[in-house]
């Protein structure tokens, strides 16, 4: 499927979220000018796309142009998109192109929201995140952290890594105890335009024993040779995941 040139050439870059399997989650993308503007003359064009392993989108949904004051909730169940691979899911790309003005600087983005309700309860609500264009000063682009992973008999950390570039990304996970002891995975690849979804204790089997003295609580470092968009969430007992959040980069100034 060809990309419309108007989106490819826009200095407003898309932002991303996980496109989870519909058997797991009921997903609504909430598209609202209020999250990016206060001017009555603001106008946005919204386009959603789903990717699964290739730069060519599996589907595209052109929402059209919304003036300031109008909003849309796009429920993926309602627009008949094909399902992503199970259980990993795919990539949801949200273009929110502001038409009445250019971004400050050369590029910018307008983050939107994803409200995902678990079919068995739980779920997550999360903003879409760009791969470039953020204004916060990040010290390193090859490392993100999750303070407060949990791995115990009762609780599992579920990881979802989103690769939104057209090359495989090499990843290494390093879990650490509160005292600083570490255990890590061998390097592995996340394919281009793909989601990777695993339980942390499957990737680092020692982690339950490592975190025994800290109620299962530790931290995780995610090293990658290109920026990834990692999500994490917790499952308690046989319950569904509540709720996923994104990891944190290593920031520069305090």
């Amino acid at each position: 499927m060809a990309r419309p040139a108007s989106l490819d050439e826009s200095p407003w870059l898309p932002a991303y979220g996980w496109w989870p399997p519909p058997s797991d989650y009921d997903v609504t993308a909430i598209l609202t000018p209020y999250h990016s503007a206060i001017e009555p003359e603001a106008r946005f064009r919204f386009v959603l796309r789903g990717y699964a392993g290739s730069l060519d989108p599996v589907w595209e949904h052109d929402v059209g142009i919304l003036p300031f004051g109008r909003q849309r909730g796009i429920r993926l169940d309602a627009i008949s998109v094909p399902p992503p691979p199970e259980p990993e899911g795919g990539i949801l790309e949200v273009h929110a192109v502001r038409l009445d003005r250019q971004p400050k600087g050369t590029i910018g983005f307008n983050g939107m929201w994803i409200d995902a309700i678990g079919r068995r309860g739980g779920g997550y609500v999360i903003p879409t995140i760009p791969i470039r264009g953020q204004r916060k000063v990040v010290k390193r682009d090859d490392l993100q952290v999750i303070p407060g992973i949990i791995a115990s008999r009762e609780v599992e950390t579920e990881l979802v890594l989103l690769n939104v570039i057209d090359e495989p990304v090499e990843v290494r996970l390093v879990a650490s105890t509160p005292d600083g002891l570490v255990a890590e995975t061998e390097p592995f690849e996340v394919g281009p335009w793909s989601a990777w979804r695993r339980d942390l204790s499957d990737e680092i089997p020692r982690i339950h024993r490592m975190l025994l003295d800290s109620d299962g609580v530790g931290s995780l470092s995610i090293f990658s040779n290109h920026r990834l968009l990692p999500y994490f969430g917790f499952r308690k007992g046989g319950n569904p995941v509540v709720s996923m959040d994104h990891s944190a980069p290593i920031f520069a100034s305090a």
Binding site: Y34, R70, G73, D115, I117, G180, S253
Partner: protein, 322 residues
């Protein structure tokens, strides 16, 4: 050995006794006087409610509270800029806010804050001391936790273990105060722990200088609501991170049909929080039949805002920052 004096200002380590003497000697009859005379309340401003209470107790009707706390009067901006240049960073510490639920509305829920001091893969990193103030919604400090996080290590603290007694309404705010040249990995995340699950997101920081006046924000704070087959309670948690009080704000629920409903947002001073049950003000929002947003108007303040959704059937929370 004598125990160390009880401290009212944890940033400057100013004992209660020093402030008491300043008031009783007549040298201090206002918050600004205390700031000048003792250096208390000149960094994170977290002790201002305790200092105001001390002034009220000692001075009675003679005490005239100021509208809001500011940096030390007379401290020139040039001096501040020079100090920042010498230190290579902002003079003020970073303030980071999170909701603290501990028995909220009689439910079995607690809040755990976790910090990670990534050390660059070596043991040669530096331990970093952080402080967490547990605040009631009205901004008064209920407990203080100070901890040194070792290089490469993590630290966690729960609201329930800090509290000497119950938090009023089972809800308050964590305020983390960090004095470090770089934020690095020290962005705290928190867990809401309930029988049905554990949910997590990260803090929201206040501006470097809470006295700075933000006239107009470029966007609204937005609480998003998607379609759902399940009904959930919805709470907006907000802390005012700026010295300028929030007054006259409203929350506006708007669905796709552009239908709007409004409710008043409570006035908030610096470090004061509100936990607003949106599903009670806007019943359509909780039905799952409508998608839309609740926005805070006018767009003027940098709040530390959070989305809290509660599924009563599963006794589990979903949380996210705004």
């Amino acid at each position: 050995m004598a125990s160390p004096p009880a401290v009212v200002c944890h940033c400057r380590r100013v004992p209660y006794e020093t402030v008491r003497r300043a008031i009783e000697s007549g040298r201090a009859s206002s918050l600004a006087d205390i700031q000048r005379e003792t250096t208390a309340c000149t960094r994170c401003f977290g002790c201002r409610f305790e200092l105001q209470r001390m002034l009220e107790e000692r001075l009675g009707d003679r005490y005239r509270p100021t509208e809001f706390v500011a940096r030390v009067p007379g401290e020139s901006s040039l001096l501040r800029r020079l100090a920042a240049r010498v230190r290579g960073r902002s003079v003020l510490p970073r303030r980071m806010y999170m909701p603290a639920l501990a028995g909220f509305r009689g439910r079995d829920v607690d809040t755990r804050v976790v910090l990670f001091n990534w050390a660059g893969g070596s043991a040669d990193g530096t331990a970093v001391t952080v402080r967490a103030d547990l605040l009631a919604l009205d901004g008064t400090r209920r407990a203080v936790w100070e901890h040194s996080v070792p290089p490469g290590g993590s630290a966690a603290v729960g609201a329930g273990e800090l509290l000497p007694d119950e938090l009023e309404g089972g809800v308050g705010a964590f305020k983390l105060v960090l004095d470090a040249p770089e934020l690095g990995s020290l962005r705290p995340y928190f867990h809401l722990v309930s029988p049905g699950g554990i949910t997590s997101t990260h803090e929201k920081a206040g501006p470097a200088d809470p006295s700075a006046i933000e006239r107009r924000r470029p966007y609204h704070w937005v609480f998003p609501v998607g379609f759902s087959e399940r009904q959930e309670e919805a709470y907006l948690f907000c802390t005012n991170t700026q010295a300028r009080p929030m007054e006259g704000h409203e929350l506006v629920w708007q669905d796709e049909s552009e239908r709007e409903e409004r409710t008043r947002f409570p006035p908030l001073e610096l470090d004061q929080s509100a936990c607003i049950a949106l599903h009670e003000h806007f019943p359509d929002l909780a039905s799952g039949r409508f998608a839309g947003t609740v926005r805070l108007v006018p767009a003027t303040h940098k709040v530390a805002g959070f989305i809290l959704r509660y599924d009563d059937e599963g006794d589990r929370w979903r949380v996210q920052h705004l």
